[in-house]
Symmetry: D2
Subunit: 362 residues, 4 copies
């Protein structure tokens, strides 16, 4: 029931970490949009394991196959199914997980919910689940770019206690991709990489913050009350594995300001953005609706739960025991989280753009 | 399209600030639940304007009327419609708003979206819209309490730069209601009240953070992938007016920790919570599913946009101008946001509890 | 859970027959549509009890009140709530119903489902529930007419065994409203009226068939696979009280033909209908999508369950007993079903027109 | 947008006739249900082309592959993806279709809707789309059988003008499967087979009526107002290719009766069906909710649109022309429609059973 996202541009993902395949069905993609398999593969490659020294060394080629909804490179308007086969499956790494609950993982809660669980690789709770999101997000980006000129750039803003400086108005994909940690602030990026290496060697893990800018949105996207753009973007990001916080614009920091410091003064602009704001503490969204300024978000990712140290836990029969992580895991999910965040932002925006078009014809 | 919340316990709200009425239709309330109008009224009274010296002095009795779905004090299982008439309408206070866009309000974005706008009182973008949420939330609390023993307590955690100390495991409604700012930390509450008074006199405004604890949830609520409990709670809170950030458990602060510091060790418990955790940095949710520990959330509310100072803006014909707030407004929304946060948390949890029951019969 | 209809033009109805009020919230109405209370009232008057000698003599003025979503006669794009108070409540007529289940009514199934039931007037199972549909349908008609030039005309086609001749391409509202049975075939209408009078005097009831034509739909409305236009129209009509069958175009009769007799040959037309068909056995829908020809439907309504004769039944404690109808009921629902059918067709079409606009911008 | 069916037991289908594959994702299947690939394959074999002399001779093995959601033969509660590869693709049979619109097919309406169309095999409008429904329906049957003891039997009731006699209370799968036309009335079945052969030789096609009985449903399934069981079953069946009419219980024929003839008298029964009815003209549904009696439906399927005779039509540039069918097609869809009807009935009932369980815990 929880594997669907979106109202008009709807995606349905499926697949366990160590089953036959992971994939996604995209229903509601407008017709005659160019669907370029290389565009989709490029995003999947940014997400895939084994891409650099600081992520998990699990090897998966993650080659996408498009099964339906496309003819001669154009979307048909019908469901687009995309599949990625599972390959590198060392299930023996997971034997301990069959009998013991890993702390701060989903093992216990899945058993509590379903009374059954795909043990190997975390099943549906694995970050491998995000393959479908990223593939669908690549389509969403294409639709947003082609129909409305929107551009979405995610970046690592913080790793552990290391903060980068990034300007959401100007940061580019090239800057983000210029290093393996995906932080466009070069010197800080180097420190982040060193920190991740260090933590990995210590058998520990760290988290951080991914920022994201969506530039070029038209004023008017988002729906009052429950489907505010902040709300749907927040849900989108908080649905990512390990995400425990989201803020838009000034976010939590904005609570330190007064209204006179925080309000974004208007000044005249040009169509299709006839009113512009001097500052953007609103993060491009006012009253839940885009105002045409850059949408600015931040998402907090907790330290990876799998660590190579002994920890207190219980067995599946609820007896006390200890457990130590095995297998190949990310010491820090941040570099791979960047394309996931971009995908979720794109999926949210394209859905609202289509909802707005239904209402107004624009 | 955006005025519906929930899948199985669904609410539909309606009403502009200065129209005939505001209200809500609750569809999917289980049958034979006691629906006590006083319970609902009590929550509305916590939300209503004019309740204390530090909130807006607009006077509305906010008396709720139940129109359907209840007979002899019990829910029928059919839609429960609840209505609150609008009363104290000084529309002349809003004359300036007809011609000028208030900075960081929804005036401009509504016009951009719809090409039309209910000028007086902010229309649907007014916090008055939350009447329907709070009334429905009172029902949700009752269902959660009666069927599963869940208890939800919200509280003010921060006003401007003043932080309170609150223990989510033990904080009570009585402590929260013991002062007009709804902060259970007495000395800090006094400072908060003084700060709000001070800011109001200066014609300015401030924001802050509301915390919320949901105690007694069963393990197993929440759906993998997109409808994770964090995601739906996050959406719920970010849909509240002025909310710009949400975090669950350790949230943004958790990014300063390593995995070995952050993981919640398991130890044996008793049914229906056979595994318990030594710490609760997960905030009661792991893999998007409740683990039976207290669910802990925080929501950031920006400073109120309406201030009594002159600000730069544009007219509705996009010419430069200035504007100064008029009317009666909250210098700080936090005290009134507490019942709103509780309502949204209750609505999210009851929906997931019913979804879980559909899946498992429990 | 079952009181919502539509995806983009969504309605939520509420209200029991003898509660405080019945009503509807319309969410997703495009902005700046003229909302004329007289248009809505006119449709409600076609539905209301007591309008003629052949319908129930229960007296309700059914005066509609618009509570939200409209300013200066134009829709705001926000939820439009409409309310009709309940007036003529002779609950004593229903005392027998408290203890006995009326055959072929919903008394038993509501008790089986909910364990509780609004006894007076059938509660939510009363045809009074359709007030909300008809009010919302009046808005839907207006949107369809203003934005796309669509016209919807319903008519009584059969009462008991009396069949009328009606041409869906040319039948007008005036013809339909020219007599109290709403059958545009004058001589047959007189026979129908006589038959209804006769059956009423005998304490019995009869059913029949309502036809409906939707003219002026553009080609392209409807979605492949599950949300075919036939499927959503079928659901819409079968959701009406007492409706037990629906057919589109040739329907059940079409099974007597061969493909060479049944296929609709194409010939060139003009934009926006560049292909036209010589015949219209498809009823304006092919592959679940409108082809620009007149959409033609028929809905079967069973004889009213309430009759003034003694019938075998059981008590609410499941002991054998007998029951005899009391109260004021329709001997034949057909004349009042016509505006209900039109409303459901309009609600289905406007929703699909908006879904199509989201997909294509047209 | 239209490829999803169900609220709690949700299916998402995908795939064009001549693309890479067709398939389905089932989200919301309860956990720990035995998922037996042979059960699913058996239903697909009843649907597949080439199964007998009276259906299309296109050859597809239609072998299903389960990609996710199942471990050790049990459902995990997570999405179950099932795939069937496309094999026998003679796209050259479809060359004429590229330039001409086939009468009463979906060619023109798809082009009108999307401005693009998968030409070969009808793309998404092909009956091949039903593979996903039938595979998902096999799961739905298993859930209904295992959890509630429900049994669903479909059968051919009419081919062209040949009517069979079938008792919905007693008809068995074995009787249905005893001949290739799937009509349990032996002598009529023989006449039907002869008629189909005859029509095929004449290059023409015929339609008919499929009946379906669902036995063992509990009282209480279905939701008042829009999601009545009749409404959702009607939508389910009318979404099948070529279906132009649906009736429940007495249906259209019931309009010839009076209320005193039509009402179903109650008499005492036993738990869980404490009230039974003497007759079943209601078809097991009263007020939109199941009453525990056998649910009885009939669906009308028009004659297949593809015929081997010359017909008037237009080109895709809207010039007059003629077209003659080519390729391998069903002269009569009825035998293959039986498993499709059963699948849609099962999918509707399992969804409502789960909705009811959410509301009441039963």
């Amino acid at each position: 029931m929880g594997s669907t996202f979106g109202h008009l541009f709807r995606i349905h993902t499926f697949g366990e970490s160590h089953g036959g395949a992971v994939g996604v069905v995209v229903d509601g993609c407008p017709p005659r949009i160019p669907v370029v398999v290389e565009d989709i593969q490029r995003e999947l490659d940014r997400r895939k394991p084994g891409q650099s020294a600081i992520v998990t060394q699990r090897k998966e080629s993650d080659t996408v196959r498009i099964l339906s909804g496309v003819e001669n490179g154009l979307s048909l308007g019908t469901p687009i199914a995309m599949l990625v086969a599972n390959e590198d499956q060392r299930s023996r790494d997971y034997d301990a997980m069959r009998e013991k609950y890993r702390p701060s993982h989903a093992d216990y809660t899945y058993d509590a919910k379903y009374g059954i669980r795909a043990v190997a690789g975390g099943g549906r709770a694995s970050a491998r689940e995000t393959v479908g999101r990223v593939a669908a997000g690549a389509l969403a980006k294409r639709v947003l770019g082609d129909l409305w000129g929107v551009e979405i750039v995610g970046y690592v803003l913080k790793v552990h206690d290391l903060w980068a400086e990034v300007d959401p108005e100007t940061v580019t994909l090239e800057q983000v991709e210029s290093n393996i940690v995906r932080c466009p602030d070069g010197p800080v990026a180097e420190a982040m990489i060193a920190r991740i290496e260090e933590v990995r060697k210590a058998g520990d893990s760290i988290g951080g913050i991914v920022g994201c800018a969506a530039r070029g949105c038209l004023p008017g996207w988002g729906e009052p009350v429950f489907d505010k753009l902040e709300a749907d973007l927040g849900k989108a990001l908080l649905s990512l594995p390990a995400c425990k916080g989201v803020e838009i614009g000034s976010g939590f920091g904005g609570t330190d300001l007064t209204g006179s410091q925080h309000n974004d003064a208007f000044f005249p602009g040009d169509q299709p953005r006839p009113a512009r704001t001097r500052t953007n503490l609103s993060g491009g969204i006012q009253g839940g609706i885009s105002n045409g300024e850059t949408i600015v978000l931040r998402a907090a990712f907790k330290p990876t739960a799998t660590i190579m140290r002994e920890q207190e836990t219980v067995t599946t029969r609820f007896e006390p025991t200890t457990i130590q992580g095995r297998g190949r895991h990310d010491p820090c999910v941040l570099p791979r989280a960047v394309p996931m965040v971009e995908a979720m932002v794109a999926l949210t925006l394209v859905d609202h753009a289509l909802r707005h078009r239904a209402l107004t014809g624009r």
